[in-house]
Amino acid sequence: MKDNLMKHINEQNAWHELTPGGMIYGSGNSEHFNTGEWRVAIPTFIEDKCKQCLLCVPVCPDSSIPVVDSKRLDFDFEHCKGCGICYKVCPFDAITFKKIGE
């Protein structure tokens, strides 16, 4: 994960501690914000069944299927919101999807 150049900014800051004009320095620091807790349903990656076709990767709105050396890893549950699109496109049943608590 990249360094968060805005890590010193929080809702207790005085006016002069905030960046001018609301500028956000650096890039992609939303990675430091957890949207995983939004999930009401959860996908499960079944590695044994996965053929690494990667069709699940581009359909994720939350960039939550990491790919390393042409292989997908387990979900990034810090950010996956549990929409289930990946589960529906998997041709090999390598992703299951169910409501949390079921």
């Binding site: 150049l5 809702e11 800051n13 005085a14 006016w15 002069h16 905030l18 001018p20 004009g21 609301g22 500028m23 956000i24 320095y25 650096g26 890039s27």
Partner: protein
């Protein structure tokens, strides 16, 4: 060495822009500011300047493109008048809040309703609270000098705000006057390079601008803008002092004329100050203790300077070249009264004049002083405010 020339206000400010050689100009034609983008377009065509000229399809897009450009790290300028400024309205606030120090040459013209192409201040007065610095010129010389200073003022690290350099449409923008120009190299050295700390085209570090700002942050960011506007005052003085060294011409927040022993003062903005100075000379010769305060910088409002200049006056007449439709007077009148409240005992009369190009002569100014004398004599003014030059 100063260069003697005979130029209109539009020509003068276009030469100032040429000398500053901004990176980008995005503009849309509207009378009477149209000549400025025309001149720049010709400079670009001739290879006189390096500026990227973007002939946009509206003033809203002009201000939007200027924002995108200045944010990208380029020194950026535009010019407009009247409805053009009104169409930029939304973006004026956005640019100021994003702390982008671009410059706008506002050639003041009456705001449509009904349509009228002549001068008054209803366009820029409406934008007075948008978070921009506003500097007004009396004549072509000041328009030229102000523009060069505006670039420095806005870009100063303590300020980082957009600046509106205003001059009166036609009266200043189109009338030819004698003027002293600086040498190109002098202006170039004076304004220097634009070197923002954070910008979109910084190859070393990306930046995101214009975020959604929730209640927990918005107020602090608005306060930062207020502090920047407060800071602008000292910067305006510092830049003026440096400019004086180079040009010999002195500028401040306000200009006081014959105020030393004055008992009756007029507060006025723009080209009418020239006419008013003639009226003051005439009335002084008649033994009347009149003086004049010309507002050069309207935003930030020169509160301290105004109070100092007007303290001890028997009466003050504040001249507004714009209706406020507040039922309380014009915008300058309201501001001056607010500044003086509790600080002086002067009778303050507010007069709206010169709307939509209504002629302002020495006699008109004399009449305004005359009404002030009467008000002081009567011991105060009635509720409301006056109109000057209105057929009754």
């Amino acid at each position: 060495m100063a260069i003697r020339e005979r130029l209109s206000g539009n020509e003068a400010v276009s030469i100032a822009i040429r000398q500053v050689n901004p990176d980008v100009m995005a503009a849309f034609p509207i009378t009477p500011s149209t000549e400025i983008p025309q001149f720049i377009s010709q400079y670009v065509a001739n290879g006189t300047i390096d500026t990227e000229f973007v002939a946009v399809e509206s003033e809203h897009s002009a201000m939007s493109a200027c924002m995108g450009s200045q944010a990208a790290g380029a020194r950026t300028v535009t010019a407009t008048s009247s409805c053009g400024l009104a169409l930029m309205w939304e973006m004026l606030y956005v640019v100021a809040s994003a702390r982008l120090p671009l410059t706008l040459c506002c050639i003041n013209r009456a705001l449509t309703g009904p349509i009228n192409i002549n001068n008054d201040h209803s366009d820029s007065m409406g934008a007075r609270d948008a978070g921009w610095i506003q500097i007004y010129a009396e004549n072509a010389q000041e328009a030229y000098d102000n523009y060069i200073q505006c670039v420095r003022i806005g870009e100063h690290k303590d300020v980082q705000l957009p600046v509106m350099a205003c001059q009166d449409g036609f009266i200043t923008s189109h009338a030819v006057e004698n003027i002293l120009l600086l040498e190109d190299a002098e202006v170039k050295a004076f304004v220097g390079e634009y070197e923002p700390e954070k910008y979109l085209l910084n190859e070393k570090e990306a930046v995101s601008m214009g975020p959604y700002d929730i209640a927990n942050y918005y107020m602090e960011h608005k306060y930062q803008q207020k502090v920047a506007l407060d800071n602008a005052k000292q910067v305006i003085y510092d830049v003026a002092a440096e400019f004086e060294k180079m040009s010999g011409r002195k500028y401040g927040m306000i200009e006081e004329y014959m105020m030393e022993d004055a008992e009756y003062a007029m507060v006025i903005i723009g080209s009418s100050a020239g006419t008013a100075k003639d009226a003051v000379d005439k009335m002084r010769a008649e033994g009347k203790k009149v003086g004049l305060v010309k507002v050069r910088v309207y935003r930030p409002f020169p509160e301290e300077e105004m109070v100092k200049a007007l303290s001890g006056m028997k009466g003050v007449v504040v001249m507004d070249k714009a209706e406020g439709y507040s039922a309380l007077g014009g915008p300058l009148g309201a501001d001056v009264k607010a500044a003086l409240f509790g600080r002086t005992n002067a009778v303050v009369l507010n007069i709206v004049y010169g709307l939509g190009g209504r002629d302002v002569r020495v006699e008109s100014i004399e009449e305004a002083y005359g009404r002030l004398f009467a008000a002081v004599e009567a011991g105060g003014v009635p509720f409301g405010y006056d109109y000057l030059g209105l057929r009754k």
